[in-house]
């Protein structure tokens, strides 16, 4: 691991200034992705500004939304009763991610900023990685891919955003509050991540020194139900091959309104608006569920190792739509 200076400010402004002043500095939160990347030599900051003692923990429950401090851990957010009551798919996605030990460390802000699990990205001996090094190529496209993305990607990069909780969060249109060198601003998650096919080396819209301080999560209106279905290679403690976050409001046999996002398939957490439009105001119909899934996956870019994800994603969404439209939850 490359040597680094360790600093631990106690105020947000101090932390932002410390990172902004040094191009080789970075924030350190839960560390579960960061230390791993530093051990692998993929990420080599000269200065770590530990933000874990900043006053950015805790959940404020308002009538229409949760204001979640960015350092709130995944376990803490999952344990919030209002999340179970009004955002069931957020709770399910949290508890289906990683392990308890990792969820006790990993912060919700850090979860949104996690780096791709692509094994070529994570191996510095691999030179062809457009995400790490622009215009160097993509080893994943040319070699063995499996845990990779098929939406929002092209032959330059097929890096997957592997977060579970980001999937329901983008479905409910959560937003982040960011403090940075130029002040404070709010960014909707729908505009936060940058697709790999729009620039493989840029992952999100944050600039150097920008710090997520809060995540605001709108509560689902009363009468909505939601759920998160995750398909993976083993029953627990594994990343998604595909996943579907669905929230909907039924009116008798009709889907009055609906939000859909898919995980395990996109270079960014994937909001499926075309599927929502196809299903809103329609009666429960498994054939239409599959058509909505097919429409979402129509733009998929696959390599031999990821071709299975198209059918699997369609079936994952169809199954979750059946579950959500069947029994009241």
């Amino acid at each position: 691991m490359r040597a680094f200076v360790y600093d631990r400010p106690t105020a947000v402004g101090e932390a932002v200034a410390a990172v902004a002043a040094d191009p080789q500095a970075a924030f350190l939160a839960g560390g579960t992705t960061q230390l791993d990347l530093m051990k692998d030599g993929v990420w080599t900051p000269d200065r770590l500004v530990d933000i874990t003692r900043l006053p950015l923990r805790g959940i404020l429950v308002e009538s229409q939304q949760l204001k979640v401090g960015a350092l709130t851990t995944m376990e803490q957010l999952a344990a919030e009763p209002v999340v179970a009551q009004r955002l069931a798919f957020v709770r399910e996605a949290l508890l289906h991610g990683a392990s308890v030990q990792l969820r006790n460390m990993a912060t919700i802000g850090g979860n949104l900023l996690q780096r791709t699990r692509c094994r070529y990205f994570r191996d510095p001996s691999v030179s062809a990685c457009n995400r790490r090094s622009p215009d160097s190529g993509c080893a994943a496209v040319d070699n063995v891919a499996r845990m990779h993305a098929v939406l929002g990607v092209d032959e330059r990069c097929i890096a997957l955003h592997a977060s579970d909780v980001a999937v329901p969060l983008i479905a409910v249109e959560a937003s982040v509050l960011v403090d940075g060198p130029s002040g404070q601003r709010r960014i909707p998650l729908t505009e936060f991540w940058v697709r790999a096919d729009e620039g493989p080396s840029i992952e999100n819209v944050l600039g150097h020194g920008d710090l997520i301080t809060e995540i605001d999560i709108p509560l689902l209106p009363a009468g909505w139900r939601s759920g998160y279905l995750k398909v993976r290679d083993r029953a627990s403690y594994e990343f998604a091959l595909t996943s579907a976050a669905v929230a909907l409001q039924m009116d008798g046999d009709m889907i009055a309104d609906i939000r859909i996002a898919l995980g395990g398939v996109g270079s960014v957490p994937w909001r499926a608006r075309e599927a929502e439009d196809m299903l809103r105001g329609t009666h429960v119909d498994p054939v239409r569920f599959e058509q909505a899934g097919r429409a979402t996956m129509a733009s998929a870019f696959t390599v031999p190792g990821t071709a299975f994800k198209v059918d699997l994603a369609v079936r994952t969404l169809s199954r979750q739509l059946l579950t959500m439209t069947e029994a009241p939850r």
Binding site: R8, S99, V100, L102, N104, M105, A235
Partner: protein, 172 residues
């Protein structure tokens, strides 16, 4: 010398790659002067001499390095020693009391819940927290919430049986 304490800023020093860490480990105050890169796992094993905590994968995948920090189970291989400054740490060496082994340790022995034993300290630290978290309601729940601890010998059935026995006893 660079000194850090919970809630206070670390002053800059000549040796900017060294940090002093103050913790309480298994009830006793501990102070380590370590390279900033040192993980909590390395500090526990090499500075504190507590080698019960195991270095398995060293990348957050196996759970062998599980310890408690302020009562919550975490992976000590993915936490900097500097981040543990000011925290209360419990390792497997801190489970036994004056009257003998922790009930969970006794149960692991009774149920033969290990073969090579390398993952056992992590399994025990997770299992003790699992009970506190109230997540031992069924075998399925135990398996789900123990999934962060891998056992290459495959002693899972016996581990679940050991946890089950303590959970049932605690609930009776």
């Amino acid at each position: 010398m660079k000194t850090t304490r919970s809630g206070t800023r670390a002053p800059s020093t000549q040796d900017q790659y060294t940090v002093d860490v103050f913790t309480v480990v298994n009830g006793a105050p501990a102070q380590w002067r370590v390279d900033t890169r040192t993980t909590l796992l390395e500090a526990l094993r090499d500075s504190a001499g507590l080698t019960g905590t195991k270095r398995g994968c060293d990348q957050g995948a196996c759970g062998a390095c599980t310890v408690h920090v302020d009562g919550a189970r975490v992976l000590s291989c993915l936490m900097l020693a500097a981040q543990a400054d000011g925290r209360q740490i419990t390792t497997v060496e801190g489970l036994a009391g004056e009257s003998g082994l922790h009930p969970m340790q006794e149960a692991f022995l009774r149920h033969d819940a290990f073969q090579c034993g390398f993952c056992t300290s992590g399994q025990l630290m997770s299992a003790v927290c699992l009970l506190r978290e109230g997540r031992a309601g069924s075998d399925a729940e135990i398996r789900e919430y123990m999934s962060g601890n891998l056992c290459r010998c495959g002693a899972y059935g016996n581990i679940v049986a050991a946890v089950r026995e303590i959970a049932d006893g605690a609930g009776a």
